[in-house]
Symmetry: C2
Subunit: 289 residues, 2 copies
């Protein structure tokens, strides 16, 4: 039986330290604040907003909701971002993407108007450059950093370890590769064009899977002694006696008995990401002066 | 006996196409121009300058040498870069680094004043972001792109191939990893903390070695059928009957008889980099209007 790497436990520990740092800031007259910019009424944005509000309250962080109608223009949105750039009371800015309708085409142009020092969710080119170069520019995306927080919390050594990353996206695969390399792991990045992912993954010490494919990580991908970090959030119609529920990439029933440790889904990486976001906001506020 | 992947041949073919594009630009009244900024009289900068001047002439590209004394101030250098930014006749800018003396500490700050669209040697954060994200921002560093040009010229397919990259620097290891992934290769990045580089490399289809360590790539690292791209330029005191000469990472006498193809040093990757730089200048000039 594998040890369950509980994201909830990691988040609780992280929230505690964020709250202390937020309190220290308040004592100096600074209230760490995150502005959440939403265009329209996308249900998944609304759900994220509610989750973020709760987590922010736990962490002692203020939220400012900035709302635009679905038909907002590019110019209005850019001017809104520039207003937040100039607002010293706002330390971090989160803009929900994808943007609605035609705005999607100029999403990158709009996002790049945000100052990297307020870019707590890694949407600017300079934040990406920071992840890639290791320079202190902007903030890394929250999900790969959540993976690193879990590995760190459970004291899983990375130096000289062989890690297979499954997925090469800008949101998970590439940044987690950079972060793992920064901790001296030897990383192999697998993706849709990789031949024999199972053969490669089964030889690794650690697998980080972000394929986004239900039950794609089967027993053929794993060996005893491995650690599996399951990043994906897929819909599994069979869960909860056919009512459906979320699940990761791992075929949990097959994989969990073999490996030495695994993050559950839900309650794994996803449970940590919002805390990472809050940590970025506190860090941005600490940097502010 | 391995096929020798001749960088000279690749460069000749590249120079030919650059010259044609430069001619087409001239016909439209645009002379592609590279400004080379040098501070002081570093011998290796002077040697590079001479090589670049020759290659530029072959390619039909104009060079403007911008010289500063070793004691130039940060402010003077920044104002010089900004002047080049504003000069429509200059399409690309190369700044020799490391900068002399105290300037070295603020090298990144100085370099980032250059417009990414003129950053033909990848010294700005935005150019790095372009390499990492795959977005069209700035230009990639010349050496990893030279590796890709060689693989492309010799029609070495990358899709689904396993590539071991040795080295994780921003100049070679990281960017070549991004470029190889972009061509759908499965890449493993090895470095000084990697356990058993030989074991990993010997299972790859292609090895890109940028360790910068003479004779570090021995017969234990290779297998029949492999392609070796040797990026490093090391000094080998035993070459030329003890007079010394440059050599790559591969122990050529050991490795060449085993693998199916290998780049020689000299005459391999290094022979292509200056042509890649010239290609960036022409591309920058083409973009200009």
């Amino acid at each position: 039986m594998a040890k369950l790497l509980s994201g909830k436990e990691v988040a609780a520990s992280l929230n505690e330290s964020i709250r202390e740092r937020a309190e220290a800031l308040r004592a100096r007259g600074i209230t760490p604040k995150l502005a959440i910019v939403r265009c329209g009424e996308n249900p998944s944005d609304l759900a994220y907003e509610r989750g973020a509000a709760k987590r922010a309250e736990v962490c002692g962080i203020e939220i400012e909701n900035v709302l635009y109608p679905e038909g907002v223009t590019k110019e209005e949105l850019i001017s809104g971002i520039e207003k937040l750039n100039g607002d010293d009371s706002v330390h971090g800015v989160l803009l929900f993407r994808p943007l609605p309708g035609e705005l999607r085409k100029c999403e990158s142009e709009i996002a790049n108007h945000l100052l990297p020092e307020k870019d707590v969710d890694c949407m600017t080119d300079l934040s990406h450059a920071g992840v890639y170069t290791g320079k202190d520019l902007g903030y890394p995306p929250c999900t790969p950093e959540a993976c690193m927080k879990i590995l760190d919390y459970y004291e899983i050594d990375l130096k000289g370890k062989n890690v297979t990353v499954i997925g090469r996206s800008l949101v998970v695969g590439k940044p987690v590769t950079m972060m793992l390399m920064g901790k001296h792991a030897t990383v192999t990045v697998c993706h849709t064009r990789t031949v024999d992912v199972a053969g490669i993954a089964s030889k690794a010490d650690i697998i980080v899977t972000a394929a986004g494919a239900l039950k794609s990580l089967t027993k053929d991908f794993v060996q005893p002694g491995q650690v599996v970090i399951d990043v994906s959030i897929n819909w599994d119609p069979d869960k909860k006696d056919g009512k459906g529920g979320i699940a990761g990439d791992a075929d949990f029933e097959e994989v969990e008995p073999i490996v030495s440790a695994i993050t559950p889904v839900p309650g794994g990486v996803g449970a940590v990401t919002t805390s990472v976001l809050m940590e970025h906001v506190v860090r941005a506020a600490e940097w502010f002066r």
